[in-house]
C-alpha cells in the first residue's frame, strides 16, 4: 500500500462524485416520476440509452456537443411525452404493477429497435475536444470531462430546484405529489401535470445517458445495468425524495469508487451490500416517506 497517498484517495473521491453525478441524474428522473405518478419506470434505462444514441446520431450528422446537450434531452423528453400519453395514461387507476410491467415491456422494444437501427455492437463516444485533458484540482490532475459532468449535474439540479420551488408550475407539481385528489378538486388538470413530469424525468434520463456516453461508450444494453444500480440509489435515498436521490447517488458513486481502489473485485457488490445495510437499519431509506411503502 506504498502508493496509497491521501491525494490518491482524494482523487478517487472526486472520481466517485463524477460517477455519482450520473447516478443522481438517473435516479432523480426515476424519483420525480415515481413521486408524482407512482409509476416505477422500468424503461428509464432505455431512455438513458436512447439519450446516448441520440447524441451519437446528432454528432454523426455534424452537430456539436453543446447543441446535443440541449437537443438530446428535448428529443428524449418529447419521446417520453408520447409514451406517457399513449401507453401509460390508459393504465392509471389499475394498480401500481401495470405501468411497471408496461414500461418493462417497452424497454425490450426500445432496446431491440436501437439494435435494429444501430447494430448490436457498441460504439466509442469521443470526449468533445475542449473537455479533453486534465486539470490540477489541488490534489492532483483530474480529467476535465469528469469535472464537467459534476458541473453539468449541479446545473441541472439547480435548474430543477428553481423550477420546483420558485415557479407556480413547480408548486402544482409539489402539491400534486402530496395529494393529487385535492389538486384536482382545486381545478388543476392533473393529467397534464403528470404528462409534463414524465417528460421532464425522461429528458433528464436522456441527458444522463449523453453525459455518461464519453465515460463508458455506447451499447444497447447500457441501460439495464444502471437501472439496477439506480434502484439501489432510490432504495437508499428513499423513493420519491429528490434530496434523497442526490445524497444517495453521490454516496453510491463514492462507495463504488472507493471499493474499486481498495478491493476491486468487490466494487460491483459493494453497493448492494450498502443497500442491504440500509434495508436492515432504515427500510424506508434516508428520506423515505412511510406512506409510499405499502
Amino acid at each position: 500500500m506504498a502508493g496509497l497517498s491521501l491525494d490518491l484517495i482524494a482523487l478517487q473521491l472526486f472520481a466517485g462524485l463524477a460517477l455519482g453525478a450520473i447516478y443522481v441524474l438517473f435516479a432523480i428522473g426515476l424519483s420525480l416520476i415515481f413521486g408524482m405518478l407512482t409509476v416505477v419506470n422500468f424503461a428509464h434505462g432505455a431512455f438513458y440509452m436512447v439519450g446516448a444514441y441520440a447524441g451519437l446520431y446528432m454528432l454523426s450528422l455534424g452537430g456539436n456537443f453543446w447543441i446535443c446537450l440541449i437537443a438530446v434531452p428535448l428529443a428524449v423528453g418529447l419521446f417520453g411525452l408520447a409514451v406517457e400519453r399513449i401507453l401509460i395514461r390508459p393504465l392509471y387507476g389499475r394498480g401500481l404493477d401495470y405501468p411497471l410491467l408496461l414500461t418493462f415491456g417497452l424497454s425490450y422494444v426500445m432496446v431491440e429497435l436501437v439494435r435494429i437501427v444501430f447494430g448490436k455492437t457498441g460504439y466509442p463516444f469521443d470526449t468533445p475536444e475542449i473537455l479533453q485533458g486534465a486539470v490540477n484540482i489541488g490534489v492532483g490532475y483530474f480529467p476535465l470531462y469528469r469535472l464537467f459532468v459534476i458541473g453539468a449535474t449541479a446545473a441541472v439540479l439547480l435548474a430543477l430546484w428553481l423550477f420546483l420551488e420558485k415557479t407556480s408550475f413547480g408548486l402544482i407539481i409539489r402539491a400534486g405529489a402530496r395529494d393529487p385528489q385535492i389538486v384536482r378538486v382545486l381545478g388543476v388538470d392533473v393529467t397534464r401535470v403528470w404528462l409534463i413530469v414524465f417528460g421532464i424525468g425522461t429528458a433528464i434520463a436522456g441527458f444522463a445517458g449523453l453525459l455518461a456516453a464519453p465515460l463508458q461508450g455506447v451499447i444497447p444494453e447500457m441501460g439495464g445495468t444502471i437501472l439496477a444500480e439506480a434502484f439501489v440509489v432510490t432504495v437508499v435515498g428513499g423513493m420519491g425524495s429528490i434530496g434523497g436521490a442526490v445524497l444517495a447517488g453521490l454516496l453510491v458513486g463514492v462507495v463504488v469508487s472507493m471499493t474499486s481502489l481498495f478491493a476491486p473485485e468487490m466494487a460491483k457488490v459493494s453497493i448492494f451490500a450498502l443497500m442491504a445495510v440500509v434495508l436492515i437499519v432504515r427500510p424506508q431509506g434516508f428520506f423515505g416517506r412511510g406512506g409510499l411503502m405499502s
Binding site: V40, L96, G105, E112, R115, V235, K268
Partner: protein
C-alpha cells in the same frame, strides 16, 4: 293478498360444475396434459424447455399471483438451483438425485436470504429490491470463477443415465429425458396444489387481498410472505436444477436480469394467480419466441410488443381471460 307462508323447500346442492371439478383435480389434469404434451409438439427439446420454464413460472406465480408481490429477482433463485445442481455433479460427481436435492435446497436458501431483506419493504419497492439483490447474486457467481466457471459458464454436467433403484433410463434420449423431467414437474404440481388447498394457502391469499384484515384475524403477514417466498424458491430451484441437467451446462446468463424478466412475462401472459396459467404462459411464450426467431433475429421486439399489448388489453392473461368467460 300476498302469501306469507310457503312450503319449506329443501335447499338442493348445486350440481358440480366442470369448473369446480377442474379446480378440485387441477394437479391431476395438469399432469395428464404434461404426459401427452410431447405428442403435439414439433420437437421434444422445445417441450422440455416449456416444462422447465413452466415450473419456474409456477414457482414465480406463487409469489406474484397468489401472494401479490411482484418480484424481479427470481433469476437468482432459478440460477442458484442450477449452479448448485451443476456444481454437485461437475465438481463432486454426486449422483443425480442428490444434485437435484441440492438444487432445491439452494433455491430455498437463496430465497430465504433475499426474502429476509426484501420482505422488509413492500409494494412497489419489492420489485426494485429483488431486482437489485439478484443483480448482486449475478456478480458474486460471475466472480467465483473456480466454482462457477465465470463468464464461460459451468461445464461438464454430464448425466447420461438416470438410475432409479436399478432401472437405468437413457437420459440422452429426448423422450426419456422429457418424461424424467415431467415426473418432477408432476410432483411439483401435486405439492403446489396441496399447499394452495391447505389453510396456509388460504392465508397467502388473505394477505394479498387484505393485509389489515388478515393481521386482525391473527395471522403474521410478514412471516406468511417470507414462507411463501421461500417455498417459491424451492420450486424455482428445482426448475433450475432440471435446467442444468437438461442443458448439461449452466451459462452465467441464467442469473441475468432477463431471466427474471422472462418469468414475469410468462406468468402474465398465461394468467397470474391461476393454477394452469404458468404452464400455458410458458408454452405460449416459447412457441412465440421460436416462431418469431424463424424469420427474424429481433424476436425481443415482437415479444416485448406482445407483452405490452397483454398488459394494456388482457391483464388477466390467456388462461385468466378464458376462465373469466367460462366460469358459470
Amino acid at each position: 293478498m300476498r302469501e306469507i307462508t310457503q312450503p319449506y323447500k329443501r335447499p338442493q346442492a348445486p350440481p358440480v360444475s366442470w369448473f369446480q371439478f377442474a379446480t378440485k383435480h387441477r394437479a391431476a389434469i395438469a399432469s395428464l396434459v404434461v404426459l401427452v404434451f410431447p405428442l403435439v409438439m414439433p420437437f421434444t427439446a422445445l417441450a422440455v424447455n416449456i416444462l422447465i420454464y413452466g415450473l419456474y413460472a409456477l414457482g414465480f406465480n406463487l409469489v406474484y399471483g397468489y401472494l401479490g408481490l411482484l418480484s424481479f429477482g427470481h433469476a437468482a433463485l432459478f440460477g442458484t438451483g442450477a449452479y448448485l445442481c451443476g456444481i454437485a455433479i461437475a465438481h463432486f460427481a454426486l449422483p443425480w438425485f442428490v444434485a437435484i436435492g441440492l438444487g432445491i435446497i439452494g433455491g430455498l436458501l437463496m430465497a430465504a436470504l433475499i426474502g429476509v431483506l426484501a420482505i422488509r419493504t413492500r409494494g412497489i419497492y419489492f420489485a426494485m429490491v429483488t431486482m437489485a439483490l439478484s443483480q448482486c447474486v449475478y456478480y458474486l457467481f460471475y466472480q467465483a470463477v473456480d466454482w462457477t466457471g465465470g463468464e464461460n459458464g459451468l461445464r461438464g454436467i454430464n448425466v447420461r443415465v438416470i438410475d432409479i433403484l436399478g432401472v437405468k433410463l437413457d437420459f440422452i434420449n429426448p423422450l426419456t429425458r422429457y418424461y424424467v423431467i415431467a415426473a418432477f414437474v408432476i410432483a411439483a404440481f401435486f405439492v403446489l396444489s396441496r399447499i394452495l388447498a391447505s389453510p396456509f394457502g388460504a392465508v397467502i391469499e388473505a394477505v394479498r387481498e387484505n393485509e389489515t384484515r388478515a393481521k386482525a384475524s391473527g395471522y403474521d403477514a410478514t412471516l406468511t410472505r417470507l414462507i411463501t417466498f421461500v417455498l417459491s424458491g424451492g420450486f424455482c430451484g428445482l426448475a433450475g436444477a432440471l435446467q442444468a441437467l437438461h442443458l448439461s451446462i449452466v451459462p452465467i446468463e441464467i442469473l441475468h436480469y432477463d431471466t427474471s424478466g422472462i418469468v414475469v412475462m410468462i406468468a402474465l401472459l398465461g394468467g397470474m394467480g391461476t393454477f394452469f396459467g404458468p404452464m400455458i404462459g410458458a408454452a405460449a411464450f416459447l412457441l412465440l419466441e421460436n416462431l418469431v426467431s424463424l424469420w427474424t433475429v429481433h424476436w425481443q421486439l415482437i415479444v416485448g410488443a406482445v407483452f405490452m399489448i397483454c398488459v394494456l388489453f388482457f391483464p388477466a392473461g390467456i388462461w385468466g381471460t378464458l376462465i373469466s368467460r367460462g366460469k358459470p
